[in-house]
Amino acid sequence: MSDMNFALGHDELGLSEVRAVIGAEEDGSDSGLSRSGNTRIRARATLARDAALGDYPGMLASAATVLDVAEGDNSRLGAWRDRIRALICLHDLVAATNALELLPAAGAGAAAARIYALQAQLAAQGAIGRQ
């Protein structure tokens, strides 16, 4: 749900949701999920919180955790794109460019759109320092 709120530009709502997830995890609330499921959800929530609050070193570390626990190619690609976003926001353009080159070539559909969007973010960061 929080992913959708961030995707729709409702950052405050997304942030409050991921904070609730992290808080419930720290309180030891029973989510009914397996241990690995909890690890994945917590890692994703931490990544989203870090991104919202500009904690890009934290986001980079969270992306590595998400990558470690990701199941399936789509999840792994998503974690890699998050790593690239974090590097762009850290203004580490060399590392971001190198990481972007490791993504599969843009073909069609949503995967291609995401690569173009990342390329635009990288270009914007290089040209106008924007994020």
């Binding site: 961030f6 995707a7 729709l8 530009g9 409702h10 950052d11 405050e12 942030l15 870090d50 919202a52 609050l53 500009g54 904690d55 890009y56 070193p57 934290g58 850290l90 203004h91 580490d92 353009l93 060399v94 590392a95 069609a108 559909g109 949503a110 291609a112 759109a113 995401r114 173009y116 969007a117 390329q119 635009a120 973010q121 270009a123 914007a124 040209a127 106008i128 320092g129 924007r130 994020q131």
Partner: protein, 172 residues
């Protein structure tokens, strides 16, 4: 920026409704600012108009385009809305500080950078902006302290390294 953002918009537009909903967040702010930077004002305005009224970064984009046009009042109006939508999110406070610095209201700009830093204490950008203003004021020691704080979070940021180096030279 424009080429890549237009490509992303084109691809997303061919996808399902759920992806089209995400365009105003992932692509439109970049595209609008890109157009404004190269003087394509009508295109920038059209893209901004297509961003729904509840998108946080949409107001940031409106503000940044307004600043490019030296329309500070419109920029502040947009940032008031961004902060209303996302009071805990630091990005709009940084934009607001940049707007005020551009306008020449340095004291108010520093307060906004401090606000951004309070909400995003690990974000290098407000610290660099803060350092830049202090350096311009000739407060080199304070500026270097801000740059050093920022470098802890973004050690590979070239412009930050260069700003620190230039300020350190001023000091000696």
């Amino acid at each position: 920026v424009i080429v890549d953002a237009e490509r992303a918009r084109g691809v997303l537009n061919d996808l399902s409704e759920s992806y089209r909903e995400q365009m105003p967040v992932s692509v439109f702010p970049l595209l609008a600012e890109g157009y404004a930077h190269v003087g394509r004002d009508a295109d920038a305005d059209a893209v901004l108009a297509a961003i729904p009224a509840d998108v946080y970064d949409g107001y940031r984009a409106r503000a940044r385009v307004a600043v490019l046009r030296r329309n500070f009042a419109a920029g502040e109006t947009a940032l008031i809305e961004a902060v209303r939508l996302g009071p805990s999110i630091p990005r709009a406070y940084l934009d607001w500080g940049d707007l005020l610095a551009e306008k020449g209201d340095i004291t108010a700009a520093l307060l906004k950078y401090a606000e951004a830093n309070r909400r995003g204490p690990h974000w290098a950008d407000p610290l660099k902006a803060w350092g830049d203003v202090l350096a311009k004021q000739g407060k080199t020691r304070e500026a270097l302290a801000k740059y050093d704080q920022a470098l802890k979070f973004a050690p590979n940021w070239k412009q930050l390294q260069e700003a620190r180096e230039a300020t350190a030279k001023q000091k000696t």
